[in-house]
Amino acid sequence: MSAPAPDLAIDVRGVTKRFGGRAVVNGIDLQVRRGEIYGFLGPNGSGKTTFIRMLCGLLTPDAGAGTCLGYDVRRQQDEIKRHVGYMTQRFSYYEDLSIRENLDFIARVYDVPDRRRAVDRSLERLGLGKRSRQLAGELSGGWKQRLALAACLIHEPQLLLLDEPTAGVDPKARRDFWDEIHRLAGEGLTVLITTHYMDEAERCHRLAYLAYGNLLTRGTVAEVVRDARLTTWTVTGPELARIGRVLRGQAGVDQVVAFGNTLHVSGRDAAALDAVIGGVVDDAHTWTRGSASLEDVFISLMDTARDNFA
């Protein structure tokens, strides 16, 4: 076994997966430190789920190598499975078993010591105690998500792979979920989490952005925003659609995105953008120049990726 850096929970290089000749995951390098919450972002079909499945031994990479918790991702899949908690994108527990039965099954499969106590503790910690006899199939989306999290924590994994755990979950439940994730990370657990929500991305220690199977950027939120070198003007006021039509397509304006009652006008060439804005600026609107938000950055990355890879 290659000596892995002990502080890296995930350390893979050049990971590639092809489906029918198309590289769905294309030579991705990823290093995640222990105890870190790592966000994994990217548009639909960018290969996030496929990448995670390779990390936990569900798919064999066509190329690339590396370690997960120090175990070789190609050869030591059994060891990896024992120490990783994987929450699938689609709810994948037994709908015809009760919450307790599901947890009990998973605990048995992982051969958890003192199983009864472990199940009780996990029910209690996730506030599932009163519902433990309810069938999983009858639960609402938010409760299903809690059950799934409880189940993938029951064997006390060192690494959590969470694939869009908060899709379809209400804001309050999402906040509770993230508080829990941070608490777990505080205890030393490493978390790799995919999401489409910007507020969640901002709660990650570091993140990576994927499009068409390629890793486009990574780092802390600040690093990602800084590296994008994007200048953004925020416009508020009436008739934003008309202003958008005027600005779109002008040299120096790379993207115009409507966010409710504001318009974000961004460009990589700050001077050119300022010149264009200078031509249309008026008193009816509030014009503010600032740095781009994470979302502006991602939209810009997605657009460039479409030009380069699609």
């Binding site: 499945r53 936990c56 031994g57 569900l58 798919l59 064999t60 059994d78 499975k81 024992r82 990783v84 994987y86 699938t88 689609r90 709810f91 994948s92 527990y93 037994y94 709908e95 998973i106 499969v109 992982y110």
Partner: protein, 377 residues
């Protein structure tokens, strides 16, 4: 109230056709199952079984005895496959099911025939399946009455008087009253087990895949062998409940004389249940959805019921069908169960049917485990 429109109807029809075309296996089965039925019913099934294996215990080498034997053979129903030197040997051949009939011609046959004493020819039959022996016995009876009409002429023509010159004594073993239920009810045990065990387990893994729980299961440290065997064991229990129900019904409702060891039946049932479960599990690793799994189970069930000797006498089928039938676990299980329950066969008698069952379990399990994918690739 919304009115019926053709374009909405047409939308549904089109969608169904597209979905049908996508599911190649189902489409193939829709063509394959009728074809198989045609082949089996058209060519394999024969309710007038001929060339039944027969042992001969010839005590008299005289021309009349030989003529009688030749006539039996020419009737087409009896294939003289064995010679039995003693009564014990003949009995053993019947017991093991190696022959269907034993013809005993006494040593004083010619002498008594010529004296007009109506010598008796003893035709012993394994009558556990009345459908298999019925036509042959009828043919033998007709023969006994008319056989020597040509040979007995001149002074001997008085012997042609009715009743015929020889007496054919039929001794039907194992099911002397020719009660069909005696044969069908024990056989039903095998059929019921095949039907339920294969279907239930064929769904087992397909269901996990269809519901998405497979991904989770694969992400845990569970081994394929553990999944397979773990899914099989509960159904072994179910199988035993079925066996018990059928045995109770056989005894108390159909009054089948159960002469053999029930313990032996239960022991062999284990092997047979395992064989069917292994088939079901293998199907469920091959099928992409639950419908396909059920169809595959049906595809297996159909020849099992038709070619095993359950519905139609095994020996009445052409060679290729017998060969196919011999590859099916039900064929061997039927022989064992009928042998034990109706004939009182012991472990030594059923040994020749045991190893094909064992082989079948081993192969089916190996294919199943190999087909069970550890990853989603």
């Amino acid at each position: 109230m919304p009115r019926f429109t053709f374009h909405r109807l047409w939308a549904i029809v089109l969608k169904e056709f597209v979905q049908m075309r996508r599911d190649r296996v189902t489409f193939g089965m829709m063509v394959g199952i009728p074809l198989m039925q045609l082949m089996l019913f058209g060519f394999a099934i024969n309710s007038d079984p001929r060339h039944l294996p027969t042992a001969l215990r010839l005590g008299d080498e005289g021309p009349y005895a030989r003529a009688f034997v030749a006539a039996l053979r020419e009737s087409g129903y009896f294939a003289l496959t064995r010679e039995a030197a003693s009564e014990a040997e003949a009995a053993a051949l019947l017991q093991r099911g190696e022959v269907q009939f034993v013809i005993n011609i006494p040593h004083d046959f010619t002498r008594r025939l010529l004296r007009g004493e109506r010598p008796a020819i003893l035709l012993e039959a394994d009558a556990s399946d009345p459908a298999a022996t019925g036509p042959a016995l009828a043919a033998a009876r007709a023969l006994a009455d008319s056989i020597f009409d040509r040979d007995l002429d001149g002074a001997l023509s008085r012997l042609r008087a009715r009743p015929g010159p020889v007496e054919l004594r039929v001794h039907a073993h194992y099911n002397p009253e020719n009660i069909t239920q005696y044969n069908v009810v024990p056989g039903l045990m095998g059929v019921v087990l095949t039907m339920t065990m294969v279907v239930i387990t064929a769904l087992a893994i397909t269901r996990e895949r269809e519901r998405g729980t497979m991904e989770n299961l694969l992400a845990t440290p569970v081994r394929p062998f553990e999944v397979m065997v773990g899914k099989i064991i509960p159904y072994i229990v179910v199988g035993y409940i079925q066996v018990t129900l059928i045995l109770l019904a056989a005894r108390w409702i159909f009054h089948v004389p159960l002469v053999g060891s029930l313990g032996l039946v239960y022991a062999v049932a284990f092997l047979f249940i395992a064989a069917n479960l292994a088939v079901g599990i293998t199907f469920s690793t091959l099928a992409r959805n639950q419908l396909q799994a059920v169809q595959m189970a049906f595809f297996f069930f159909l020849p099992s019921i038709l070619l095993s000797g359950f519905m139609f006498p095994f020996r009445g089928m052409p060679e290729w069908a017998q060969w196919l039938g011999s590859c099916l676990p039900l064929t061997h299980f039927l022989r064992i169960v009928r042998g034990v329950l109706l004939k009182g066969s012991g472990p030594a008698d059923i040994a020749p049917e045991l190893w094909p069952l064992l082989l079948f379990v081993a192969v089916a399990m190996a294919v199943g485990v190999k087909r069970y994918r550890q990853t989603l690739d």
